[in-house]
């Protein structure tokens, strides 16, 4: 992975997905990641302000800086596929500088073999969530 556009600590996860036997196995893996989201947003924090529009199911994103001033993404979605993608995104961005996060591309999702989650007309809304994370990172990096 020379031209990698994601933090190197994601490499093993990308690899793990690429090694899946088929798409069903990939989705299974994604469901597992959804369950072990490193920084889930608890239901009682889901509100209108942090809701991502344009998703068919409910999805919420809250970005902030941790005690070290590094990026912290907390996310909650009722669809596991979306939550799984957000979990991996959290693994990617948590602990990075906001500036770095603001430059992130969703290429790792494609590389993981989940490209169909990235078409803008798909109602799953991951792309909308991703865009929100990047734009919040931009704002946080300017503080």
């Amino acid at each position: 992975m020379e031209d990698a556009s994601w933090p190197s600590h994601l490499d093993s996860i990308v690899e793990e997905f690429r090694d899946c036997f088929d798409s069903m196995e990939r989705y299974e893996l994604l469901f597992e990641y959804a369950k072990k989201h490193p920084s889930p947003l608890p239901l009682d924090e889901w509100n209108e302000e942090n809701q991502v529009l344009g998703c068919q199911s409910r999805a919420h994103v809250k970005c902030s800086l941790d005690e070290n001033g590094l990026f912290l993404l907390r996310a909650g979605a009722d669809a596991q596929i979306v939550q799984g993608l957000m979990a991996i995104t959290a693994i990617a961005v948590n602990g990075q500088s906001s500036t770095e996060v603001s430059k992130l591309s969703p290429k790792y999702v494609e590389e993981m073999g989940l490209k169909s989650s990235l078409t803008p007309s798909r109602a799953n809304g991951f792309l909308n969530m991703f865009k929100r994370v990047v734009s919040e990172a931009e704002i946080l990096s300017e503080v």
Partner: protein, 408 residues
């Protein structure tokens, strides 16, 4: 008579589509839109390649051919629905047809305090136009509830609701539940209390022969694209009596008799409601679609769909965690099966089915009040039509089982 499904399938080029993930398409999203046979596509291509021209006031050969084709289509389509060209008004679809009733009839004939009766299982197209009219004119809108066990209309409540109603708007068949309403009874009861009836046949028309003149409804709304026809066209069927009570809706060319700077006079009858350049290719395509459908008995299509749907419904009920909303085993059902898994979220399930090549619809299906009544935010929905097969249903069930086992 049994249909020759293999021959029928060969009329639909899309059915041999291999999806990007290598899977063969299994199209179970027919309640959203049907696929089109080659002859429908060809009829439109032929129009554009050989005689495309604006219709009416035809003084050259192409315009004559286009106008003749347009009028022949109207003739064929109105005949298919058991009525005459004079009672058919082309619209862009069922939605515009219902808006036409709202703007072109109700606006001129209903007044403050009048009552419109809807049901909880209406599509938004048969709800929002009435809510708007209600706001504008102070008309009361009532919703007949459904029974949450049988998923059928509460006919006792219906009887009470219509008592002093002016207009009753009911879907022939629910796009979510597949339930066919007792429309004959609904029409009769409404007529008895002096109410007019609008039937939303967007889902009914692909599954049952709609005979407008026999049914006795005042208005019927239909979309072409759900019954093998193209996008962008549909119609309102209306009785001559109701048409004579209607006033202009959209205005412009064609619908006028005379225009001066002092004012205009309008055509009589259905012509008053069709303005601008007609949907020529679309009408010709729809004409070809009803011609194609006329090869078959709608009853045979219904039986075929029913067999697949009832088998699929029974098999789905055996899968732990799956709950069906509707009654696909009911012999009147359109075969649309709405369902949910108790733990796999509907959108996740849609993705996992799509990975298998299965196209099912997921969401509120433009029927949020029904979702509210069912107490769910959305459902997955598989819906079948003439070209679907038992084999497709079997592979669907086996994929669904697999998914439900693996993703709980």
């Amino acid at each position: 008579m049994a249909l020759d499904i293999k021959a029928i399938r060969s009329d639909f080029p899309i059915l041999s589509r291999i999806l990007p993930n290598g899977k063969q398409l299994v199209y179970f999203d027919n309640a959203a839109t049907s696929q089109k046979p080659q002859c429908v596509i060809d009829a439109m291509t032929k129009y554009y390649e050989q005689y495309n021209s604006n219709a009416h006031r035809a003084n050259h050969t192409l315009a004559d051919e286009a106008t003749t084709a347009l009028e022949n289509a109207r003739e064929k389509i109105s005949q298919f629905f058991g009525t005459t060209p004079e009672n058919l008004i082309y619209t862009s679809g069922a939605t515009e047809a219902i808006n036409l009733v709202s703007y072109g009839w109700a606006r001129y004939n209903l007044k403050e305090g009048d009552v419109i009766v809807l049901t909880e299982m209406e599509h938004h197209a048969d709800i929002v136009p009435w809510q708007e009219l209600s706001k504008e004119k102070g008309i009361e809108v009532r919703y007949v509830p459904i029974n949450n066990e049988s998923f059928t209309l509460d006919m006792d409540a219906f009887e009470i609701a219509i008592e002093d109603a002016s207009l009753v708007c009911v879907t022939h068949t629910s796009n979510v539940l597949g339930i066919r309403n007792p429309i004959e009874q609904i029409i009769q009861m409404s007529k008895e209390v002096g109410a007019h009836v609008l039937l939303d046949c967007a889902q009914g028309a692909p599954h049952e022969k709609i005979n407008f003149n026999n049914l006795g409804a005042d208005f019927i709304a239909i979309s072409a694209h759900k019954m093998a026809g193209p996008t962008g066209i549909g119609c309102l069927l209306a009785t001559s009596e109701r048409i004579s009570e209607m006033g202009p809706f959209m205005t412009g060319g064609s619908m006028i008799k005379t225009v001066t700077t002092d004012g205009s006079t309008y055509q009589n009858g259905h012509s008053m409601f069709e303005t601008g350049t007609p949907r020529i290719a679309e009408a010709i395509g729809w004409g070809a679609a009803v011609e194609w459908l006329s090869q078959f008995e709608m009853k045979d299509i219904h039986n075929h769909v029913h067999q697949i749907a009832s088998w699929t419904g029974r098999e789905m009920n055996k899968i732990p965690g799956i709950k069906i909303y509707g009654d696909p085993d009911n012999k009147n059902s359109s075969g649309a099966i709405s369902f949910l898994h108790e733990t796999i979220q509907s959108q996740d399930l849609a993705f996992l089915l799509d990975e298998g090549g299965f196209a099912v619809r997921t969401g509120h299906h433009c029927a949020q009040p029904l979702m509210d009544a069912l107490g769910v935010p959305s459902t997955n929905r598989a819906s079948f039509w003439i070209y679907n097969t038992q084999e497709e249903a079997e592979s669907f069930i086996s994929h669904l089982k697999f998914v439900c086992e693996r993703f709980v």
